[in-house]
């Protein structure tokens, strides 16, 4: 009988995995909470808006190639948009919700390809309307064709601030200041890495050229230390920090703007893997808590696989290649998978991925988040928005020795709200380390639900 595979996430990793598994004869179900396939990077706006045009040409080519291939395969795949996976206890116990309905699915294998989200770094005023993260700005541009603001400050580290700044400019927006934390040549020493990523590097250079040519004010090494405005952002104070996180005297610049777009790197959406009991490891700069995986995305839990950025930031190119490898492994029967010929038949892709990963080292160097960043927040700075917990509350908890995520959660309620800690946990980890020397940071006990689901939908469970 054909193997059954469930894929969570329709980004490049999930799409590639679903198509590969289907191509090998598996019965494939693909769930994604988004309206249309594509995931984070290949996000599609509503069909009425037509194709986007602000991404680089090569990226758009890859996007359309993948999405068109998926259109062709779609008739043979049980693709379910607007469907979220909210609990996972193994491949035979997968809980999904759509609208006012839930289902418990069972399969031979489940492939988690739920990607990454952005990491927030708290500073006074960071919750002011108008302050947003790069993904928010990108989805405004890509899926709504609107600009984040009329006059935008872009800041942060890694390649994404460059990309968003260029995309804002290409969409006709105005940039008040561009503040990359690291010199734009960080990571350039790694020539092998650059060579392996040459395709992406060229794209990156084009984005960079767009930003440079526009003549926007560039403030390298500056970070936002305060956002001003009550109902609406009015200005941002940028400054340089010393190693201890103190503001360098006289470096403050206040810049009028109506939007601040930031990216400080990424955290993996790994909750479902943790809930399923997969062995996890912590690597801060590529996503925080990550499932341990082998070359074929196998986790420590039988039948639970992971592909793409969720196993640690890899970029869209690796995500797609890896999706194929993981889809192939999940769809193969254990006997076929165990044969040496299986690995040999994927030799090319394995090598390709290894090379692309070399390039990820370049990106990692650009993503370095100095500890000093976490010292900007003061006691009144909000940390957990859902439960209204500020740094003062956290420090009160630290003072009684509550330094692990479970105990910080219990003593402050941080991470107990709507988002389940997806926003505040990485911040809390860094703040506990900075203020209370709590290291290494333990993992919070994973709990369902990965997404809020109405009681009525839980009660309205159809047979899967």
């Amino acid at each position: 009988m054909a193997r059954s595979i469930i894929v969570v996430g329709a980004g490049p990793a999930g799409l590639a995995a679903a198509m590969q598994a289907e191509g090998q004869g598996a019965r494939v179900t693909l769930v994604d909470e988004g309206q249309r396939p594509g995931g984070q990077i290949y996000r599609q706006g509503p069909p009425a808006l037509g194709r986007e045009d602000i991404a680089g040409a090569a990226e758009l080519r890859r996007k359309h190639k993948l999405l068109e291939a998926f259109e062709r395969a779609r008739v043979r795949i049980d693709y379910r948009p607007n469907t979220s996976a909210f609990a996972l206890f193994g491949p035979r116990d997968i809980h999904v919700a759509s609208g006012d309905q839930t289902q418990v699915l069972s399969a031979d294998g489940v492939i988690l390809a739920s990607g990454v989200r952005e990491v927030a770094v708290p500073f006074p005023g960071w919750t002011t309307p108008g302050v947003m993260y790069a993904g928010g700005a990108q989805s405004l541009i890509k899926s709504q064709r609107t600009l984040p603001g009329r006059n935008v400050v872009v800041a942060g580290c890694g390649p994404l601030p460059i990309v968003v700044a260029a995309q804002i400019l290409r969409a006709g927006g105005k940039i008040a200041a561009f503040a990359p934390l690291h010199s734009l040549t960080a990571g350039v020493g790694n020539l092998t890495g650059l060579w392996h990523g040459r395709g992406v590097v060229l794209e990156g250079l084009r984005y960079l050229a767009t930003v440079m040519k526009s003549g926007v004010a560039r403030l390298t090494g500056f970070v936002p230390i305060r956002a001003r405005g009550i109902d609406r952002l009015e200005s941002v104070v940028l400054a340089r920090l010393d190693a201890a996180g103190a503001v360098e005297k006289g470096s403050e610049r206040e810049i009028a703007c109506d939007a601040l777009v930031i990216n400080y790197g990424f955290a993996a959406n790994s909750e479902l893997a943790a809930l399923a009991g997969a062995r996890m490891r912590h690597e801060e700069l590529i996503g925080g808590w990550l499932p341990e995986v082998d070359d074929f995305g196998r986790t420590s839990v039988e039948g639970v696989f992971v592909a793409g950025d969720m196993a640690g930031l890899r970029g869209a190119l690796v995500a797609e290649t890896e999706g194929c490898l993981v889809g192939a492994a999940a769809a193969a029967s254990p006997e076929i998978f165990a044969k040496r010929s299986f690995e040999q038949s994927w030799h090319k892709e394995l090598t390709h991925r290894r090379r692309l990963c070399e390039f990820q080292k370049v990106v990692r160097a650009m993503l370095d988040r100095p500890r000093a960043l976490w010292a900007i927040a003061d006691d009144d700075t909000m940390i957990c928005r859902c439960e209204n917990v500020n740094l003062g509350h956290l420090r009160f908890a630290f003072s009684a020795g509550h330094l692990a995520p479970n105990t910080i959660k219990r003593s402050t309620r941080a991470a107990m709200g709507w988002c389940g800690g997806r926003t505040c946990l990485p911040m809390i980890a860094a703040l506990a380390e900075l203020h209370a020397k709590a290291s290494p940071f333990a993992m919070m006990t994973p709990r369902p639900l990965a997404r809020p689901v109405p009681l009525s939908a839980l009660a309205n469970q159809t047979k899967g």
Partner: protein
């Protein structure tokens, strides 16, 4: 190896252990008190419960235990010098009956309650629904209500106790397990994870795990683990002022100040895992929607598990064991709401040898061997 010294060792830093420690330390009689817990802060049932307290019981014993405790909760912020307070909410408890038989039981209990000054009353189905509009009408017969019952945050309660204990010099350490107890002359040597400690007296507050330490000494403490699961919703507009308990559904509903609604849903299970299970959500949601259809639209945020203890008569076990200086306090569920009074009683027992307290003498550990069972008519429900 750490060199620890103490006169009194309390094993377990849950609501029982910390409350006992605080009441003992309050005496300032010079005893050095050490509390060890193998887990994290609030890692036991005390950090995983439904947070409800009530004086609506059917036995004098339970009524008094909870009346005293609730009085203490009311003044806890001041008594424990804890300015944030413990999120006290006293909007009452509504115990629901969905059959004539259950209603009769409630009526009898309310008569008993009145004898001890509990301001409870019996409501008919209409009055119940007026009080809690989202309630389902089907089969609902009525309920009993007491406005002094309510809830508090177990986390804040434990944090307040912990800080107050430490201020009074109690040494509270987490991440350290008590592995074994060995009597040495008139004292005890306890093997802790980081070395032995010699103490004069020991109080076991490890709840369902108490037999692990006591059975090797030949002490028979009849308690078993009772695993439960529980879920919480996102904040919703105020709809359920009193805490609800449905005898038939075996559900307790607590909408706390933030608006989140906590549902404790019981089902027959055994074991000691606190892990969440997939079938719990499938099991609990239809029952909840049947009980309070008006809350069906509210999103569930999180589910978790906790393990408490249950004894043969579902009443706590508190007292000195057959070995002098070795004491035990097992909650038999409901240990959040009884922890203030149990702390006071145990402090008197451990420090003064006072076993005359009527509650303490009724709940002594050897009652089962003697064939005594205490029957609480309102138990076996939430």
């Amino acid at each position: 190896m750490t060199n620890r010294t103490a006169d009194i060792l309390i094993v377990g830093a849950g609501a029982f252990g910390l409350s006992c420690a605080w009441w003992m330390a309050k005496r300032r009689d010079g005893s050095r008190i050490l509390v060890v817990d193998e887990g994290e802060f609030a890692g036991g049932a005390s950090g995983r419960n439904g947070a409800g307290f009530r004086m609506q019981w059917g036995l004098e014993l339970n009524i008094r235990l909870c009346q005293e405790s609730i009085k203490f909760f009311e003044s806890a912020a001041r008594e424990l010098d804890y300015p944030p307070g413990i999120a006290l909410k006293q909007d009452g408890y509504l115990v629901l009956a969905h059959s004539e038989k259950a209603l009769k039981t409630l009526e009898a209990a309310v008569r008993t309650q009145h004898r001890f000054g509990v301001p409870s009353e019996v409501l008919d189905a209409k009055e119940c629904i007026k009080l809690v509009p989202p309630l389902g009408r089907e089969r609902l017969r009525g309920g009993s209500f007491c406005a002094l019952d309510g809830s508090a945050s177990p986390f804040l309660w434990l944090d307040a106790l912990l800080r107050a204990c430490r201020r009074q010099g109690v040494d509270v350490v987490y991440g350290i397990r008590a592995r074994s107890i060995e009597p040495v002359e008139t004292r005890y040597r306890v093997q802790l994870d980081d070395g032995p400690v010699d103490v004069a007296k020991i109080l076991i507050c490890t709840d369902w795990a108490a037999p692990e330490l006591l059975a090797p000494l030949g002490i028979d403490v009849r308690t078993e683990p009772l695993p439960k699961e529980i879920l919480v919703t996102s904040p919703a507009p105020p709809a359920v002022k009193p805490i609800l308990v449905s005898l038939e559904h075996k559900i307790a509903v607590n909408q706390v100040d933030r608006g989140s609604v906590i549902f404790t849903v019981s089902r027959a299970r055994s074991g000691t895992t606190t892990r969440s299970t997939g079938d719990f959500l499938s099991f609990a949601a239809p029952k909840i929607v049947d009980l309070v259809p008006g809350l069906a639209h509210v999103p569930v945020l999180r589910a978790w598990g906790g393990v408490s203890s249950v004894t043969p008569d579902m009443q706590p076990i508190i007292g000195e064991t057959e070995r002098e200086g070795l004491f035990v306090a097992v909650s038999s569920y409901r240990g959040f709401m009884t922890s203030p009074a149990v702390g006071r009683i145990m402090a008197a027992m451990v420090l003064d040898g006072d076993t005359n307290d009527p509650i303490a003498s009724a709940l002594h550990p050897r009652r089962f061997a003697a064939g005594e069972m205490i029957i609480e008519p309102l138990l076996n429900q939430e």
